[in-house]
């Protein structure tokens, strides 16, 4: 068994090593091989649907390299360099295929069964229910909500007190407030970048790749806000014109 390895660093993350191993089996029979990680950190294998690909375990990889063929493996490991990063052991002629955990194969091969994060009810709605089970659900949902929040930096909608919407006419519903706050943040960021000096732009930029997306999002915000404002103005006018003749109606009833 001939083997060759490379060790590189993950872009922007000097603490994570990317290891590739190329295996070549020049012999005329299939051979089983064991590749063991020698780096000091935990091995992060390639995964599908959250489950490690076939052959990977916590220390390395076991698999078959077909006769006269090549096989390339790769994994990540948060650890300092060490050379060589792997130990490759030829375990001789491959016998019948070893059985693998079919539950893992089922998860890899079939579609995920989890409902999408977008389908989750608002965390504040669950708070309103106030039962023990609702509290537990919020707890569980909180974790997945965190993912969504970190993506678009929206504040959790539960900051608003839902009861206030009923009494104070100037407080808008929490979902509307959250939407406006998110739009405001995008617009502020866009304003920082409009006519900005190089330094301001550099500080305002997290990553350069999302600029086009930001521009599009702000343009969409502008259109949506104008539409909402026009509709809101029309509704406010109509609302002001409403004059229910309740005393006359009560007499009728």
């Amino acid at each position: 068994m001939e083997s060759d390895w490379t060790l590189t660093r993950l872009d922007g993350r000097d603490d994570v090593a990317l290891v590739t191993v190329e295996l070549h089996n020049p012999s005329p029979v299939d051979r089983r091989v064991r590749v063991t990680n020698r780096l000091s950190g935990p091995l992060l294998p390639p995964r599908r649907a959250g489950v490690p690909e076939r052959g990977w375990d916590t220390d390395g990889f076991t698999g078959v390299v077909p006769a006269g063929d090549r096989r390339t493996l790769g994994y990540a490991c948060p650890a300092p360099d060490e050379r060589p990063p792997v130990e490759v052991r030829d375990e001789g002629r491959a016998s019948a295929a070893a059985s693998e955990s079919t539950a893992a194969a089922a998860i890899r091969g079939l579609d995920a069964a989890r409902p999408p994060a977008d389908a989750l009810p608002d965390a504040s709605a669950a708070h309103g229910a106030g039962t023990a089970s609702a509290a537990m659900e919020t707890d569980a949902g909180g974790r997945s909500d965190d993912e969504a929040v970190s993506q678009n930096d929206d504040p959790p909608a539960s900051d608003e007190t839902p009861s206030a919407t009923g009494t104070d006419p100037t407080v808008v519903p929490p979902s509307v407030a959250a939407w406006l706050a998110a739009a405001e943040r995008r617009i502020e960021r866009g304003e920082q970048l409009t006519d900005a000096s190089a330094e301001t732009a550099a500080t305002a930029l997290g990553g350069a790749d999302d600029l086009a997306a930001l521009d599009e999002a702000v343009a969409a915000d502008a259109e949506r806000l104008r539409a909402v404002s026009a509709r809101a103005a029309r509704l406010a006018e109509r609302a002001a014109a409403v004059d229910v003749p309740y005393t006359a109606l009560r007499r009728l009833a």
Binding site: S101, A103, A105, A113
Partner: protein, 234 residues
Amino acid sequence: MIVAVAGGKGGVGKTAVAYNLGAALDAVVVDADLGMADLPHSQGPDLHDVLAGRADPMEAVCHGRVSLLPCGRSLAGARAADVGCLAEALRTVAARVGDVVVDCPAGLRADVGVPLAVADACVLVASPRRFALADVVRTRELARELDAGLIGVVLNRTADDDDVPADALRRTLGAPVSAVPADPRVGRSVDDERPVVSAAPDSAAAEVFRSLGDRVRTCKRERRGRDDHSVNSV
């Protein structure tokens, strides 16, 4: 022994079959429908909690006329549940109580695949309507791929005028096909917690579930014999 009750199409009566088969076997019935649970749920931890690492599988088992491991109803719970832990949870319950019947969800996603992969055998449920038959054949293929032997096929809620292609189905699926005639007591059995094997022991449905239970036991004996044999030969 772990028996998965699957069937592809929703609404064909998988839950009623799983519940009544569980009663015939004196097994724990696990509601593995993580997104749309059916079995009755009371207070206490459920399968969502087990799969999110918040509860031990045995803690979530409710003992009643039929022992159940119910599943939570919330989308948040379904999202937090890791289907990868389902295999271990089912094995834990089976190791502690003996027999486990898993009520699988509809469809062919990972939450059906994992119970089929862990199960020693499976029972497929189909409605005698033609549209449901294609799905049961697909589920059969998945079970075959995941090494879950087929113990039997239940054609649920047959009526006298149904033209059931039982022979063709038996040939296609390679397992005995038994018909459960439409009987309101089967449909009500889950909600009322009154399995037909005890509530209506003379009914045709009870007879089907008893014989299905017998086939599971035979299969279990055969497996045990085979395992002993292979241990001896090593």
